[in-house]
Subunit: 588 residues, 2 copies
């Protein structure tokens, strides 16, 4: 029993029991491939976050191991990712200068806070909160972030000191600094970017044509950035380009991840709380989307609340080992999956690989130009930029379009935090607005059936003494008054009207405010000599109404079905007589 | 045409055309009664707002006239009210010391801002925003505000200098000051309070027993506060009680409302913006509730957006004539209505009466003890305190209960602004939470009908190859994933399952996120050899789906009715054969 609990909360005890030689082999191969890909990526994302390059390596080691212990996805690779690195730069940049001790310390605090928030969300099963980020808002946010990231890296390609937190600031700062462009750096940057784009688009088909196997072509393609790193580093060293003003990575300590202590001063924590919440939620959404996509391909299941715990542990690990906020990355996870990773052990092996790199290989990147890292980032993030969501949402739903457009514009114009917050608030606001003015249809009987539909859309039978209103929304405080107003306007001047039937097939809840409105409607209609009936009230709604006096006071009845209601209220006239032979019945 | 526009936006041109002698007579009588009642009330509410007594009179003059011109309610009386006075004190008290010039100036700015917000809401037809204050939250807020107001007035009854913005602060401050109690003040205060309670509860029956008519008894009862004011003022003057430490109103300038200019400095406006929004919304909700209740009694209609314009004009009037934020008050409007007011002209006559009082009668209140005014307020607001909403909401809906409890506790503990904001946020949050995990029912055919209901609640017919799921909620971003998870869990291990039908009678919208989920569900079920169908999709939802590729990719069909869907998918087995004679059919 206790072991079962342990397996539930520490999944390693689950898959660890059946771990065998085949799985080990597959995991090892995946780990080698991912490690090679991760070395330049980790250095590059640290640069994006405004941190020293080794922070990227450190952020990939302990977090991967902790996720392997606590996470549920078998293929997710946890570490620095582009969007979270950008958000880290934005949050910490408000507090300390890039390159200072305070900056690195604040990044640790951000990781610790973010880890604590993720853990708390997992323990209290609050994973559903991430659902309030709608798909279009996420798509818009990722696209806009990709553009900001790409723009922010152009300064490394030009070799100038530009800055800015939003697209406008970045672009104007870049333009102002163009005269200072270092031409050698620019050449390296353009070559690296061009090469990497070609690797992405053209290399794989070329290799396939040359007769390589699918797998091998794939591995070589993924290793493209490593070639770029190798070639530009060698050129910089051999030609002494660092003396010509090409900025290089420089000395990186040769060390395992250090033990670090985040700064837990209350003032700093208060400043970082909102960014930490946003990073946690965005990171979780990115991670869970990747994990679920990959799990679905192998018919495995992901437990979102356990994922929160895994990601929380990974971030806390990052905080205490010189890293910064991490999450499950899309690119690295797909590589891991394609490379055949079977269990989270693949992640642990990757961590070992990166630890070896941190100890042994860092001197090799001394002459690595920052322009190459910037090129790696630009090529990676531009694949995230996709404006098709604007077209899709415009065609499908204007509310979704407004939310995505606002997210993109505000992210570009005011930064990532404002952008994503506005997207969420706007999505929720538009949903509330729609539910506050529900669609209300007057319905009639579809001939030869027992089915009722909108009189404006279908040929249906109605009766002048019975008005049936179908409310296409739950009744709650925001729309209670709307229904009242609609009904009073509708019944005024209907002389023959004797019965109003509220068809409640779409009413999933009636809250206390709406109940008070229904009481008012019942009372007001009674004064006009009209009885109020209800039909197709759902079980949970009916249970609740039974607790009140409303059903006693209701002037009419509650019918199981709309057909029953109309049959009885019209003495079978609507239900049994064909419309064409009976003048009393109006065919709409 | 132009005159019609004018009549729409300036309703006085509407009712003014048919104004006659009878209406004039009725309005005059109502005005006299309301004026008598308003004099002590206006002074008292100014005291509550922390302003000099004349501010209460001024706030009743121009606003009443402006509302008479722009408002639509025929009985609403606009002026200072208890809750808005308390909110003014809370907002302005954060900015300036009571009794200073800055305090009075900030109150003018608050009225101007509030007026501008109300006007803007009216022009942009944003009156629906007030619907997001649910009935239980309003009830809880009014109850808690009543308690705070009553507690805040106890210092005047004791004759001490206590303070505080929430119940806890007020009570502890009062207890600390008890030793300084002025006994003469206390006697006046207790007598006045006792007398006013008796007037409220016991006077009317007594007068009726003495043979007075209903109307006369009513007028005398409403004039109770005037008797209390008269008696205590006379006693204070005659016995020289001011020298014994009884605090009196003192000198009130004899003047018409002065022309004043609010302070429009940006810093102050920024500080007062949030309180102004809250005051506007709360004031509007109070006012519109009263106006609609009274209009319903005479079968008149209120136009909420025009009401916003009327209240906005009234507040701007208050800002420029030495007043402070105003709204349509419950007590005064009911008196106005009961006294027979027929048109907004009654309000204008009341304004004339109050102007005469401001010019001629203010010396008479020199010796009026503040304790009497406090007694007036206490007796008025305690009638607002009503905890029955806690019981009602507890029995009916736990979500409503949580919202009302939080509103009451936070208003009492942290003040009016936090309380009402928390109530609104919590109501919306709980609504979103509920819609994010919708009720999902598996349905079957009710025998001998074409009607489908929940298999857990009704005796229905189902078929092993067809699973029908009724989703009791619109599908949108917050619950899209929930439906996916539910369906995958449900279909796993159903070997004979061939068709899944989503019965969409309660689905009022499918947003882009949900559409993507449906596409994923369709695709996943297809891989399992199950087709996905939909039934009873509503017109507006279907219109939108037709714009996408979803219907082309759907493995199944879209049926007009659930009955049609099941009849076709089971080759009529479910629909035509009685359940008892056919073993293939499962009766649940």
């Amino acid at each position: 029993m206790r072991f079962k609990m342990l397996r539930k909360y520490v999944p390693i005890f689950d898959w660890g029991q059946t771990y065998d030689r085949t799985a080990f082999g597959n995991d090892m191969i995946a780990a080698v491939i991912v490690t090679i890909m991760l070395i330049p990526q980790s250095l590059a994302y640290a640069l994006l976050a405004g941190l020293p390059p080794e922070a990227g390596l450190y952020a990939s080691i302990a977090p991967i191991i902790l996720y392997a212990i606590f996470g549920t996805s078998r293929a997710l690779a946890v570490g620095p990712v582009a969007v979270v690195s950008l958000m880290t730069a934005a949050a910490v940049g408000n507090i300390a200068e890039t390159g200072t001790m305070g900056y690195a310390l604040a990044a640790l605090t951000l990781a610790a806070l973010s880890g604590a928030i993720l853990l708390a969300m997992g323990v209290f099963k609050l994973g559903f909160l991430a659902n309030f980020l709608s798909h279009p808002v996420i798509a818009g946010f990722i696209t806009a972030s990709g553009m900001i990231i790409a723009a922010s890296q152009l300064k490394h390609i030009l070799g100038v000191d530009a800055g800015g937190h939003n697209l406008w600031e970045i672009v104007t700062s870049l333009i102002a600094h163009i005269p200072e462009t270092n031409q050698t750096t620019l050449i390296i940057g353009i070559c690296a970017t061009g090469f990497l784009f070609w690797v992405r688009k053209g290399l794989k088909p070329t290799l396939r044509k040359l007769g390589l196997g699918v797998r091998m072509a794939d591995v070589l393609t993924k290793a493209g950035p490593v070639f770029a790193v190798f070639a530009t580093t060698a050129a910089t060293w051999y030609l002494g380009l660092a003396d010509k003003g090409v900025k290089i990575v420089g000395e990186v300590p040769q060390s395992l991840p250090p033990l670090t202590m985040p700064d837990f001063s209350p003032g700093l924590m208060a400043d970082l709380l909102v960014p930490a919440i946003l990073i946690s939620v965005i990171g979780f959404v990115e991670s869970i989307s990747v994990a679920q996509t990959l799990a679905a391909k192998r018919r495995q299941r992901i437990n979102p609340d356990q994922e929160l715990i895994g990601l929380g542990a990974a971030n806390i690990g990052a905080a205490f080992t010189g890293g910064y906020p991490v999450t499950g990355g899309f690119a690295r996870s797909v590589v891991n999956f394609d490379a055949g990773a079977q269990t989270p052990a693949a992640g642990a092996f990757t961590a070992v690989g990166l630890a070896i790199a941190a100890v042994a290989l860092t001197p090799l990147v001394y002459f690595l130009p920052k322009a190459t890292l910037a090129a790696t980032i630009i090529v990676a993030v531009l694949s995230l930029v996709d404006f098709s969501i604007l077209k899709t949402s415009w065609q499908y739903s204007k509310a979704d379009f407004i939310a995505v457009l606002a997210t993109i514009l505000l992210t570009l114009g005011l930064g990532v935090e404002v952008g994503v917050t506005a997207g969420v608030v706007l999505s929720i606001g538009l949903f509330l607005y729609k539910t506050s003015r529900p669609h209300i249809a007057e319905v009639g009987l579809v001939p030869d059936t027992q089915h009722f539909r909108n009189i404006l859309r279908h040929k249906v039978i109605t009766h002048p003494s019975v008005l049936t209103i179908r409310i296409d929304e739950s009744l709650y405080f925001a729309n209670a008054r709307y229904l009242e107003d609609y009904l009073y306007d509708r019944v005024v001047g209907c002389k023959n009207l004797k019965h109003v039937v509220l068809m409640c097939s779409a009413v999933n809840e009636i809250d206390l405010s709406a109940l008070e409105s229904l009481e008012a409607i019942n009372h007001r209609l009674e004064e006009m000599g009209i009885s109020l009936h209800m039909s197709e009230v759902k079980g949970p709604v009916m249970d609740r109404l039974k607790k009140t006096h409303f059903l006693d006071e209701l002037t009419g009845e509650v019918f199981l079905s709309q057909f029953e209601a109309v049959s009885k209220l019209t003495d079978g006239q609507v239900a049994e007589t064909p419309p064409s032979t009976e003048p009393k019945i109006k065919l709409v």
